[in-house]
Subunit: 280 residues, 2 copies
DNA sequence: AAAAACCTGAAATAAATTTTCAGAACGAAA
DNA sequence: TTTCGTTCTGAAAATTTATTTCAGGTTTTT
């Protein structure tokens, strides 16, 4: 996995026409060392020196010199082209999915509002109990989250069927938190449940990958993850992973908070769990 | 092994006093990247620009620029393990978790046997039905996988409680596949279920993060993911993600296989799902 | 259709690298 | 110790390379 090329792909859509020529050249010459000088590269890319400097800056380098050095540093790693096609072996697909996940994480870091994650974590930390709901693959995200939160010492539960979700919502009290997970942000039952909870004074959080979606209106705190349309199919693999890392970061934060109160994942407890092999 | 340093040592005796200062600096700063400019380095070595150029030429480079690039290329990409500490903000934790996930993917790609993924995919593709079992966070991996496999057009089911797992196993037939997910590879109930199935001629696959673990003995095909010990706690966040990307790659492969038979994720079906907002 | 925002490359400027060269340091021979 | 020749060195000049600026062009917005 070549980080420079991945980053190039990540930022490709934000580039101008001429900058894209530079990007294209880089992507199509993965193994190559950069030609020694900026002028040479400018000529190869049919672009200008200034454009190349701008390109390097966009990727986060101080200038062309730094880019050149980093490209040399990434050398031997072979690059995997992004789109999966039907002749790929399973392993090639795995490589592409890992790349895709990396890009999705990068997009998530740019999309999510840091203050909102903090607010969500603090809300969960001080909540009476936390309920997570989602459908389909979002149900397993919700389940995973509940699992981890509970482990970290917080009362958390997840429900994957719409009846149970509504029942759970109706038994929540002020001071509790309801977290709705929905990639589309439009799953009717989830939105309804959040709306119902909100009307009763219960705090609501959503984790979604779609900006300006219905679920956002029903949520006190919005955690917006990778919003890139998935090109392939509704399997939406990498966005699923992005939602998980957001959960994981909340979870870690909560672990540390709880450790301060002495109710966290303490040694003894964890060793207990491990000896019973419930560590997964 | 750093070739440039070796070469420096080889030629050390032929160098002048000032050139040796450059050599000494290089040898005593093996990990470092070269400072950006030749003047900076000259100052650090208490020497001059021209001496450095001569030094670079002696090692066989065309000049300082080439030396700089090659040093960068030889740099051991020592990865800084981003340990999370208690003063990190939620967003910082998110960044570290993403890094950790990236590393975990890299490890998984190195650990997993490409031919085993292919074998697993083919087994699932030709199986009557596929059952996935796991406990704790592995249960949500299993659930997620079943969800996706089913979506891709394969009969797949997951069970998260030990009774149901055993019942399901006992109703499986030859030609079916049982997939056990277990990070430790030692969860007694999962291992037992696989053993039982295997004894009845059912194909077994395991997805585990622990080499030489009990579950491997009961599995026809082993998918070994990131085996790095998690330093933090048994939350084992990133290894969880690694297991998911393995699932995802199987799943993608199966989608393509099914498309060939015309039973895959076809447009119409997917649009249908989308219009009902069950795309997650 | 006008205005604003943005992208681009030629040229000017700045910075880094390489070369040149005069003198210092060392060694061998007288 | 002196003298000559060789090698090594660094300051400064020359050259190459990188960066910034700016005016003109393009696209987007209003």
């Amino acid at each position: 996995m070549n980080k420079i090329i991945l980053k190039t792909q990540l930022l490709y859509s934000e580039m101008g026409k001429s900058e894209k020529k530079v990007a294209d050249w880089l992507i199509s010459h993965p193994g190559d060392n950069l030609p020694m000088s900026i002028s040479e590269l400018a000529e190869l890319c049919e672009s200008s020196e200034s454009t190349i400097v701008r390109f390097a800056r966009r990727l986060g380098f101080s200038g062309y010199g730094e880019l050149k050095i980093c490209v040399a540093g990434e050398q031997e790693k072979k690059v995997v082209l992004p789109t999966i096609n039907e002749n790929d072996s399973c392993f090639e697909i795995l490589e592409k999915i890992c790349n895709d996940a990396y890009l999705s994480f990068e997009r998530t870091k740019r999309t999510i509002a840091p203050e909102n994650i903090a607010a969500a974590a603090n809300l969960i930390a001080s909540a009476g109990k936390t309920v997570l709901i989602g459908l389909g693959s979002s149900a397993s995200v919700a389940q995973d989250a509940a699992n981890k939160f509970l482990r970290a010492g917080y009362s958390a539960y997840s429900y994957g069927d719409t009846h149970m979700q509504m029942i759970a919502a109706s038994h929540m009290k002020e001071g509790d938190v309801l977290i709705g997970v929905s990639q589309s942000g439009a799953s009717k039952d989830i939105v309804e449940a959040l709306k119902f909870a909100k009307s009763r004074g219960i705090s609501t959080i959503c984790i979604t990958g779609t900006d300006k979606s219905p679920i956002m209106k029903q949520s006190d705190i919005v955690l917006l993850t990778d919003t890139e349309e998935t090109k392939h199919s509704s399997l939406a693999l990498s966005s699923h992973l992005s939602r998980l890392v957001v959960i994981d970061s909340l979870c870690y934060y909560l672990v540390y908070r709880n450790e301060e109160n002495g109710t966290g994942l303490d040694e003894e407890n964890e060793n207990n769990l491990r000896s019973k092999r419930v560590n997964e």
